[in-house]
Amino acid sequence: MSVPLLEFRNVDLHYGPIQALRQVSLHVEEGETVSLIGANGAGKSSLLMSIFGQPRPSAGQILYRGEDITRKSAHHVASGGVAQSPEGRRVFPDMSVEENLLMGTIPIGTAHADEDLRRMFALFPRLEERRNQRAMTLSGGEQQMLAIARALMSRPRLLLLDEPSLGLAPIVVKQIFQILRDLAAGGMTIFLVEQNANHALKLSDRGYVMVNGQIRLSGTGEELLGNPEVRSAYLGGH
């Protein structure tokens, strides 16, 4: 049996008295696209950030390629091949597109920077057109592309995406998910956190549904899309 790329084992997480995660267990296999669906405040972002130990779980284990990273430094995890496009995009507003991308090389150094920069511009031609523009002047969709590209600059094996569709127009969301589909087809392992269950589950091999810090359901993307509970809670279906 092969080791999952990422695995959560009974993870609890607290912010002071507030418990954000309860006994969370999940796994992401190499090459898979897995999504985590949940309403606002369910604990999705906390789960992603706990991979970098910010904050650290109060109980349980997080494993990356079989290695227990629960107590490892954020840098160790990032340079080991985990990258994140954070919630709300969080591009560096006063830096140009190109500078933002260069910042993405911090975990691994600049040895491949030039080559990777060109790969990113091939993947996101829109970013190349705007390479000297300040990031704050980009549209929401372009900023999301930049956040993803910045994460890819550290040559990750596992790409974490926190609500990439947040606040974007439907047509732009489609573009973003097409890009994710292409990335997945290229072999990237993607762990996607979304409120937009429809898009996310269609893209994903498997999915988890999180409610109040607990995993409520899991299954393949299609199973979850057909699940009545998911349909009523996240898809506005009847």
Partner: protein, 427 residues
């Protein structure tokens, strides 16, 4: 600028501007210039106020008229356009200013042969502020942590030399690294409690830290001599002293080398060591900026949460900025103390912190060359224009306002360099 295109000259806007400026001038100057105290009464002097307000209104009108003309609009556009994009420099980019660097170096090497003692001391002071500016530039300019108590680390360096000599018998050379180390530790000490703070709160806490250090130095009479200060030993070179006669029957520097005694020798020596230190700090900083830690500082300045999402340990990033900045100030303090020959707390007031901050802001947040230039402009210029010294603060104020309008990112914009294309990689 979203100025609507107007072909004809519009007179209304300039008139409006001028009336507004006149009103402001009336409010500001009216009580100050128009009411003159005379014993226990006062006279009104409306004519003087009218003159000033009239001048302001006319000036504002003409300025506004000019800025609305075609040429003026062109100007505004050009000034404004400077902030729109940010350029990453090509890896082989050569700055147009690059000829300045060897010129400045040459001047720095030649200077001691021509300078008199006064010029030499002025330049030493300038270099000390270059060090301070470079250090604070890491904290404020790169890492974006507004530190208003930076002078505390400068004081730690300076008093480190004085106290080390007084109580431990240490000299210039042994204190130099120790001061950098002590200041770095103090930086970490300050850094820990303020890790969670941002912006205004950080500024206030650091301001308090600076004042605490100064007050301790001022009031711990038995240790520091309080307001009277402490004397500082003159530096030595391989144990040779620079005085006319060495203490304890040693051989002074000039006798050892068989040259004539020169009272400037001490300053020449400080200048030489200081110049080397500045060059070393410049080199180290240049290296650091290109290393991941330099990028991490800038990422932290731009967005702390993004930083953490990138797997950066913001604690380490912040602490390293604080510590490196502090240790540079510690070095500067040692030079300052040796140069003055004594230290007292009045050299380490908040005004000093503000001056160093002004150097960083004026030089362009994060820009090294800008900081070097600004340090000299703000410290050497007032020295050379002694008669103008009273207006120094006014000059700062005006410079700052002008900067905010035209160069909000400093005299010299920071620019990053891209990476060299490696041969064999297809474009």
């Amino acid at each position: 600028m979203n100025m609507p295109e107007r072909s004809s000259l519009d007179i209304r806007q300039p008139l409006l501007d001028s009336v507004l400026a006149g009103l402001i001038a009336l409010v500001v100057f009216g009580p100050i210039v128009g009411v003159v105290l005379d014993g226990y009464g006062f006279n009104l002097q409306p004519a003087r106020v009218a003159w000033i307000v009239g001048t302001v209104m006319l000036g504002r009108f003409l300025l506004s008229l000019f800025l609305h003309s075609v040429i003026g609009r062109g100007w505004l556009q050009r000034l404004d356009g400077g902030g729109a994009g940010v350029q990453v420099l090509a890896p082989d980019y050569r700055s147009r200013l690059r000829w300045i660097v060897p010129l400045v170096l040459l001047a720095a090497v030649v200077l001691p042969f021509f300078a008199n003692k006064y010029l030499l001391t002025v330049v030493i002071l300038g270099l000390i502020y270059v060090l301070l500016g470079l250090g604070l530039n890491i904290v404020v300019g790169l890492a974006g942590l507004l530190d208003l108590g930076y002078v505390a680390f400068y004081a730690i360096g300076a008093y480190g030399l004085a106290l080390g000599y007084e109580y431990l018998g240490l000299g210039f050379w042994s204190v130099l690294p120790l001061a950098a180390l002590t200041a770095a530790l103090a930086g970490a000490l300050l850094g820990f409690p303020v890790l969670r703070m941002h912006g205004d709160y950080l500024a206030i806490v650091t301001l308090g830290f600076g004042e605490i250090i100064r007050l301790v130095l001022n009031n711990w009479l038995s240790l520091t001599g309080g307001p009277n200060g402490m004397s500082v030993p003159a530096p030595t070179f391989l144990g040779l002293e620079f005085g006319r006669r060495a203490k304890d029957g040693g051989v002074p520097f000039h006798e050892f080398f068989g040259i004539a005694y020169d009272p400037n020798l001490k300053f020449l020596f400080i200048y030489a060591v200081l110049l080397l230190t500045v060059l070393l700090v410049l080199y180290v900083k240049g290296r650091l900026i290109r290393m991941p830690i330099g990028r991490a500082w800038e990422a932290l300045r731009e967005d702390e949460i993004a930083c953490r999402a990138m797997g950066l340990n913001h604690v380490l990033v912040k602490l390293s900025a604080f510590m490196l900045g502090a240790s540079t100030a510690g070095l500067a303090g040692v030079f300052f103390a040796s140069y003055q020959g004594f230290v007292n707390p009045t050299s380490f007031t908040f005004f000093e912190s503000a001056l160093i901050l002004a150097i960083v802001v004026l030089g362009g947040m994060g820009s090294t060359l800008g900081v070097v230039l600004a340090a000299f402009v703000l410290t050497v210029a007032p020295e050379l224009l002694r008669s103008f010294a009273d207006y120094r603060v006014l000059l700062f104020g005006m410079l700052m306002v002008l900067m905010m309008i035209w160069r909000p990112r400093g005299l010299i914009r920071i620019s990053r360099r891209g990476f060299a294309q490696r041969p064999g990689v297809a474009p």
